[in-house]
């Protein structure tokens, strides 16, 4: 079986579910002939036709509002935003309607839809193409927020997101779109939307991350292993709802925890995890919970972008720091 990239896995999941469920409809800017600016929808127009793969005019609030209307009619729209930084015009529709329609109507109407967007920095794109504001979405009751970090998880999580009866924000780390390849059987099997994934078991420190920072986390772990340090790596994957139990179990074992994310530190999802864990694991903790994060500033343009992201070495240093606590 050929190995495919994360973005190809997205495409495979979309194709699978469109084949399986005629109610699945794609919409977004340039998703048709162009196949999406990252080529996530390439070939789908040809396969499923213009009714089901719909290029929209350039208006993100429109995309969200249309998807909401379609979803209330029982379609399953999967809408693409070109970059997370361009989802903000849609926030009103997402927060005030998509997330609330089921509750507002006490279950009469609902919004089974997926909003997909690439996110994160490191691809040397212009301003607004580097956002990691998943925390905004994670704060909104009624949404689910899912972030894959491998081709297999992208495939399985996206299938489940489309099948979920409620709105899902599906954020795809642009930096990983064409990074590591994997074999991804096209078996239509979804992955659970309320589970974290333990990527590597370990004893000394728990490393919690998601999205593109999984890359640095994995490579840091490789190096630490050579020094005889055994870390447990958890990919949170579903930011909302958070699989607290898997994280807690790990921390009860290791007593040390580092959270690594790319988003700005203040108000980042790292705080959510830190606060939840600290409240329940305070007396297991051998060291403070450390967060390695992006800075509280705007992701710089390409020339300084590289200084913005947490580095592998910082993870290694942080592990060593928490190990110093007895």
């Amino acid at each position: 079986m050929a190995e495919i990239t994360l973005v190809e896995a997205i495409n495979q999941a979309l194709a699978y579910e469109m084949q399986a469920d005629p109610d699945v409809i794609l919409l977004g800017e340039d998703i048709g002939k162009d196949g999406g600016v990252f080529r996530a929808t390439v070939g789908l127009l040809e396969k499923f036709g213009e009714e089901r793969v719909r290029d929209t005019p350039l208006a993100e609030s429109m995309i969200a509002g249309l998807a909401i209307g379609m979803a209330m009619q029982g379609l399953k729209p999967v809408a693409e935003f070109q970059f997370m930084g361009f989802t903000y015009p849609a926030l009103d529709q997402i927060i005030n309607h998509a997330a609330r329609m089921r509750n507002r109507t006490r279950g009469r109407l609902s919004c089974p839809l997926v909003f997909r967007a690439p996110f994160g920095c490191g691809i040397h794109a212009p301003e607004h193409h580097s956002e990691s504001t998943e925390a905004i979405y994670a704060h909104i009751p009624g949404l689910r927020v899912v972030i894959p970090s491998s081709p297999q998880r992208a495939y399985g999580l996206l299938l489940s997101a489309i099948r979920d009866p409620d709105p899902v924000i599906f954020l795809e780390p642009a930096r990983l779109y064409r990074w590591a390849k994997q074999e991804v059987p096209d078996d239509g099997k979804g992955l659970p939307l309320d589970r974290a994934f333990i990527l590597q078991s370990g004893e000394d420190v728990t490393l919690i991350s998601w999205g593109a920072m999984i890359k640095e986390t994995l490579s840091a772990a490789q190096k630490l292993k050579k020094d005889g340090i055994s870390v447990e790596i958890i990919d949170v994957a579903t930011i909302k709802p958070l699989d607290k139990q898997t994280l807690l179990t790990s921390i009860e074992k290791t007593g040390r925890c580092i959270i690594i994310h790319e988003a700005a530190r203040t108000g980042g999802v790292g705080e959510h995890i830190s606060a939840e864990l600290a409240e329940q694991a305070l007396f297991f903790l051998k060291a403070p919970i450390i967060r390695l994060t992006g800075y509280d500033t705007i992701v710089p343009y390409a020339k300084l972008e590289n200084y913005y992201l947490p580095k592998e070495q910082q993870i290694i240093d942080a592990v060593q720091r928490v190990l110093e606590f007895a």
């Binding site: 409809i25 009714e51 089901r52 929209t56 005019p57 208006a59 609030s61 429109m62 969200a64 509002g65 249309l66 998807a67 909401i68 209307g69 379609m70 979803a71 209330m72 009619q73 029982g74 379609l75 729209p77 015009p89 009103d92 529709q93 005030n96 309607h97 089921r102 509750n103 507002r104 109507t105 006490r106 279950g107 009469r108 109407l109 609902s110 009751p141 009624g142 689910r144 979920d164 009866p165 409620d166 309320d194 709802p241 958070l242 607290k244």
Partner: protein
């Protein structure tokens, strides 16, 4: 320099201010029963409004937006729509809503602060509180209908203030491009809370906003239920049969405060309301019915009594509604409550039990 495009906006009126027929009488208007039905609904609307305000003033209802003077718009819409069309309303639209099957008591429940007021309505949407956002939902619904090739139309309403929102325009624009089976109705009641129509847009008419989206807009006398009913019907038919969108601007006047939380005397110039009252829709139709000799004072008194009784029944049903359990606030958030919220649900139940107990 050459002219490359020309546009016109028309104005429609059938029954004028002095209750004379000035346009072509549509066939429904030749049916006296039909005319009487429209009249009765408008009166019910007004009786309901009066009662709702009284309930609010005595602390038994939350903030409430009256539709005084605008009854023809919502009645005409409700009457022209087919059962399997879909209504995407705004908050003054309850006449259309109840004509489509929502009990009066549910409307009260909603404004009384209970989500269960939105429980009925089939495929219709509940009000959208964020002004202007619902047009896009209507467009999305219309897209679904069109994809499935169902011959149904969507009708969405808003005030003239709402037309300033980007979402309103985006909805028009997509309806134009995708040729959606949709009718946009603007209830131009001249005020958005305290902001007059003149400060909302420099466009001479709101109908012409459709020009920006490449389809037809027209102005209708919103105090003339015959014209409203007729133009909505024509537009709905175009939508259903030919996937042609239309924008209708209904000209009327808000003969009331914006809501019970508002005091229009703070900003409304004196005298205007009285002047506008001469055009109001109910007396206009009543005079016409009287001229036709199918209405008189006795029938009027009887109707008032019936409406009062019907509203009173709804009020009783509303007031008798048992409070929802506190856990309702979280039980409908997701199809299946995520495990992360089990503990919170428990807490909510406890708080609810304590407060009720």
């Amino acid at each position: 320099m050459k002219i490359i495009a020309r546009f016109e906006i028309s104005y429609y009126q059938i029954l004028n201010e002095t209750s004379e027929i000035v346009g072509t009488l549509p066939s429904f208007a030749k049916d006296n029963e039909h005319l009487l039905r429209l009249y009765r609904i408008m009166v019910l609307n007004r009786v309901f409004d009066t009662k709702a305000i009284a309930l609010q003033r005595t602390g038994r209802l939350g903030t409430y937006p009256s539709s005084l003077g605008q009854e023809a718009v919502f009645t005409g819409i409700g009457d022209a729509m087919l059962k399997n069309d879909i209504l995407v309303p705004y908050y003054r639209d309850y006449a259309a809503m109840w004509m489509r099957g929502i009990p009066l008591s549910d409307i009260l429940l909603f404004w009384g602060g209970d989500e269960r007021g939105n429980l009925q309505g089939g495929e219709d949407l509940p009000f959208s509180v964020p002004v202007g956002s619902q047009g896009l939902h209507a467009a999305g619904i219309a897209t679904a209908l069109k994809i499935r090739q169902e011959k149904r139309a969507v009708l969405t309403t808003c005030g003239e203030g709402a037309t300033s929102q980007g979402d309103f325009y985006e909805a028009l624009n997509i309806a134009g491009i995708w040729k959606l089976p949709i009718v946009f109705v603007i209830n131009n009641n001249q005020w958005a809370i305290s902001v007059p129509r003149s400060q909302q847009t420099a466009a001479a008419t709101l109908a012409q906003k459709a020009i920006a989206a490449g389809f037809q807009g027209e102005q209708v006398d919103g105090n003339d239920v015959l014209a409203v009913r007729e133009r909505v019907d024509v537009a709905l038919t175009k939508a259903r049969e030919e996937n042609i969108p239309t924008l209708l601007e209904m000209i009327c006047y808000r003969q009331c405060d914006h809501t019970t939380a508002d005091e229009a005397t703070r900003y409304e110039p004196k005298g205007v309301r009285d002047l506008e009252w001469k055009k109001e829709p109910i007396m206009r139709l009543r005079r016409y019915l009287e001229n036709l000799k199918i209405w008189n004072q006795i029938l009027e008194e009887q109707l008032q009594k019936e409406c009062t009784a019907e509203v009173e029944k709804a009020v009783q049903a509303y007031l008798a509604t048992k409070p929802a359990p506190a856990s309702d606030m979280i039980d409908y958030l997701y199809a299946k409550l995520p495990h992360t919220l089990f503990e919170q649900r428990e807490q909510i139940k406890q708080v609810g039990d304590q407060c009720h107990g």
